[in-house]
Amino acid sequence: MSTLLSLKNVWVEYGDKVVLEKVNLEVSEGAFLSIIGPSGAGKSSLLRLILGQEAPTRGTILLDGQPLKPECGPDRGVVFQRYSVFPHMTVLGNVTFGLECPAAPFAARLFGTARRKAEAEATAMLEAVGLGDSLNLYPAQMSGGMQQRLAIAQALIKRPRILLLDEPFGALDPGIRADMHGLITRLWRDYALTVVMVTHDIKEAFTLGTRVLALDKRRHDPHAPHRYGATAVYDLPLRGPPVPAAEPETQHPDPVAATN
């Protein structure tokens, strides 16, 4: 599998506080990378780097061999733990918005047949995540799990090169979380996605990921704890990316297999 994303000797520093140091990472196409680590180990900082929300202090990040601009773009989709959906748009509007942006740079809206076409595509996407019956609801009228389904549909409508998940299921109860694991695994396989997921839940990381990356500090100076940053301390390949059709279900433990 070809390398999609690569980080070379990446450092993130805020003032004299070092958050990440010497991070080297290659993510191949079709991978499902889980990132775990204790609080404050720079998991979210790493995600913000890949998202383009921040630039590294040192080092380079390449996406498809091209240096990554320090600005978010449509080639990287994201789902946050909260606030990922627009409260003032309906479910359908939330997903259609992603199609309207490139098509209508000045009006910021589509009309007529172009609108109907975009809405049909958005509806198909929403049906794929199981929200086909909720097109006209506002996010505040939906449960947390449904809002996360919506956020995933919203991101996937752009066919991003990488889908970034920032503790996407952290606020959900265990039953809903198992459903969402099934959903994300199915979408990852169906749409041949490359996923980078930050999570606190180690079981979730191993259940979903094809590879688990653990971030932590290698060194610790008790007199200046902020001077050493975290880096990848474990990098565990679990299994290859899914081979379409031939993928046996047994590779995915219970909660996932149960809902597939």
């Binding site: 998202l51 929300q53 600005e71 978010c72 773009g73 449509p74 990287r76 989709g77 994201v78 946050f80 909260r82 606030y83 990922s84 959906v85 627009f86 409260p87 003032h88 748009m89 918005f97 992603g98 309207e100 942006c101 490139p102 740079p105 000045f106 910021a108 809206r109 506002y138 996010p139 505040a140 009228q141 956020a151 919203q154 991101a155 752009k158 991003p160």
Partner: protein, 271 residues
């Protein structure tokens, strides 16, 4: 039961809310009746009958000089000034509030200026406006606009600035440019806040309107109140003040109803 958990039914709320108002009216009537018993031509606390006669005259008898029905002409002139002033302020609040809230370079450029204007007491500017713009309608409208706009601009800018960062990032990953984020993400979420800002600005706007009319005008609710003050005409002043209160309440209720109707998602309705 703790008072903190004592929620009243709708009927009880009506009774509870009406009681103090009714009490004040009764106290007024008793005091007015007492004064009239001592002096039938008392002007300080007029009886309802006296107020009714005075207002009926202003409602039906044309002013000998201008030919207008005074009450309606005053109301129309004041509402026009108020509407224009608030309208201009609202437009500024929306445009500048969105730009300052959403775009860091615009915030760096305009935020100190808006803050500077906001700390000037608007009434202190009234002489400047009268000298620069004359004593006509313009200076009154501008006083209202300049008086309420800075607070509204800062409110909208703060609201837009405090939209969750995640939403803005999400919009960027959907391919939205700055304009699209302002038009589709910031603007719709600023609208309910704008209506609330207008509701809060209504109070100060009335203050500036009455002040400007009191100082230099020949028509308007504030002008009339300050004119008849010279004759101790409480029988005109009290109904006029009540009318201003009624207009203000109606505007407040209407703005709230518009907000609930147009932006159900912002009020937790629509389910």
């Amino acid at each position: 039961m703790r008072w903190i958990n004592w929620h009243l039914s709708k009927r009880d709320r009506l009774i509870a809310g009406g009681a103090p108002i009714l009490l004040l009216v009764v106290i007024y009537l008793i005091m007015a009746a007492a004064r009239h018993a001592a002096n039938p031509s008392d002007k300080i606390l007029p009886l309802p009958g006296g107020m009714f006669t005075a207002i009926a005259g202003l409602l039906t008898t044309p002013d000998p000089l201008s030919g207008h029905l005074v009450f309606w002409a005053d109301t129309f002139a004041s509402l026009q000034r108020l509407g224009l002033g608030l309208g201009i302020a609202t437009l500024f609040a929306l445009v500048l509030g969105l730009l300052i809230g959403a775009l860091p370079p615009i915030r760096a450029t305009l935020s100190p200026l808006v803050t500077g204007i906001a700390v000037i007491p608007p009434i202190a500017l009234l002489p400047v406006l009268f000298i620069a713009l004359g004593l006509g309608e313009t200076s009154k409208v501008v006083l209202i606009a300049i008086g309420v706009a800075p607070v509204m601009i800062r409110d909208i800018a703060a609201h837009v600035g405090s939209l969750p960062r995640e939403q803005i990032i999400k919009a960027e990953t959907l391919g939205a440019n700055s304009w699209q984020i302002i038009a589709r993400v910031a603007l719709p979420q600023a609208m309910p806040r704008l209506l609330q800002a207008i509701r809060l600005a209504l109070g100060p706007a009335w203050v500036f309107l009455i002040s400007a009319e009191a100082v230099a005008s020949d028509i308007g609710l504030g002008y009339r109140i300050f004119l008849v003050r010279r004759y101790l005409s409480m029988d005109v002043i009290i109904p006029y003040v009540a009318w201003i209160a009624l207009l203000a309440i109606l505007m407040d209720v209407a703005l709230n109803a518009i907000s609930r109707r147009a932006f159900p998602w912002a009020h937790g309705d629509g389910r």
